[in-house]
């Protein structure tokens, strides 16, 4: 077996992935071949360098602690998970259960998903879309891109969106993610104003459910849309967010 073949085994040898007979054969060759011994030592140094560089560039411990706090804070507690599940069940009963779509669904429609984890007891039949598809979502929903308000001035850095089925209507649901990750999420529901008023009709039951889970609700009317905000933010902050959303319609 030539040096090139043995040198290709060096990485696996250092990783402990060679079988015993192959490792023994390589070791026998290394004892007699200086070039391959140098290749082995160089690979060992490179691996140590790579390992130490990545580990040395470890993240700021304070940020790790803050991240762990956010993760633990979002861990569902058994009692809260049960309460949310009961809330979903109650809402389904109140709204009559079956969802009906009006017209063909967008191409990203998928199975029903329960999104009670961010305080919105709405069963949706589409998944969240990525940020770059939001404009397409807005145009599909409203015919223009103006249905996605910019709340960056209110400290929100990202938005995800989807279409919800609600009382035989499509309602645009946007989730805003704050810059300060210790702040809660903000959910905004947007419905074109017409005779349906699905959000207005859902609000009393949503208000009861939300109050049980510590959420606040604010509704606003813009020229062509009904807007509905849900968050665990304090009510006065949510009012400011609502004003920010409404100004952009």
């Amino acid at each position: 077996m030539d040096c090139q073949t043995h040198q290709e085994e060096i990485g696996r040898y250092l990783d402990g992935e060679l079988t015993s007979p192959v490792a023994a054969s390589l070791e026998a060759h290394l004892s007699a071949c200086g070039a391959c011994r140098e290749a082995l030592n160089q690979q060992k140094l490179d691996d140590q360098w790579f390992r130490s560089t990545v580990r040395h560039a470890a993240p700021d411990p304070q940020r790790v602690i803050a991240l762990q706090a956010r993760i633990v804070g979002r861990q569902p507690q058994p009692s809260q998970a049960r309460l949310r599940w009961l809330s979903v069940a109650l809402l389904l009963v109140l709204l009559g259960g079956a969802w009906y779509r009006k017209g063909p669904l967008p191409v990203y429609a998928a199975a029903i998903a329960d999104h009670a984890d961010h305080g919105c007891t709405v069963v949706s039949h589409v998944p969240f879309v990525q940020a770059d598809a939001l404009q397409e979502l807005a145009r599909t929903f409203t015919g223009s891109a103006t249905a996605i308000p910019d709340l960056s001035q209110r400290g929100y850095c990202r938005v995800q969106g989807r279409l919800c089925g609600l009382r035989h209507r499509h309602v645009l649901h946007l989730v805003y993610i704050p810059n300060d990750r210790l702040r809660p999420l903000l959910s905004v529901f947007i419905e074109p104003r017409d005779q349906e008023h699905a959000l207005d009709r859902a609000m009393p039951s949503w208000a009861a459910t939300a109050a049980q889970n510590g959420y606040h609700l604010v509704s606003r009317q813009a020229a062509q849309f009904s807007i509905f905000l849900v968050s665990t933010e304090p009510a006065d902050v949510l009012q400011q967010d609502a004003a920010g959303v409404t100004r952009q319609f």
Binding site: R12, E17, E38, W49, T53, V64
Partner: protein, 168 residues
Amino acid sequence: MVAHTQVLLRTALRLTRRQEEAEDAVQETFLRAWKYFRGFERGTNARAWLFRILMNVINRSYAGRPAAHNFISIEDTGLDQVLAGPSAPVLSTAEALEALDRLPIEFKPVMLLVLVEEFSYREAAEILEIPIGTVMSRLHRGRRLLRAELAPRTAPKRRNGEVVPHGE
């Protein structure tokens, strides 16, 4: 599970190269881990399971990213003219991280899992959902590319016969 935060985060940082996106990916990983905990087989490798979730999160979130810089070919680096004798690279922290970031994205997950997190080839294959042969070939090629990247910057740096880790 939260005790794994730091190791997950350092891997996510090297793959996303952005602090906030790495933190988002780790947070999403734990959220999914709690959500799908019933699918975890007790007694199996929890650490590998978490890394598998992390890789899926990153692949889904950043699949559309522009590719990393095109890496120069090994032949163009004059690899055959590397100084005789093994030597450790000497780089500043920024240069070292830039060298890592220039590795093509397809090789980094395997190198991070095997060389840094010390998973076996089989564990890495399961985490990344690729054949074990692909793990071996990507690791082999990634190491060669790293050597080519470091070759112009090597100089002896040892202390008591041992390589001095970067940064010390």
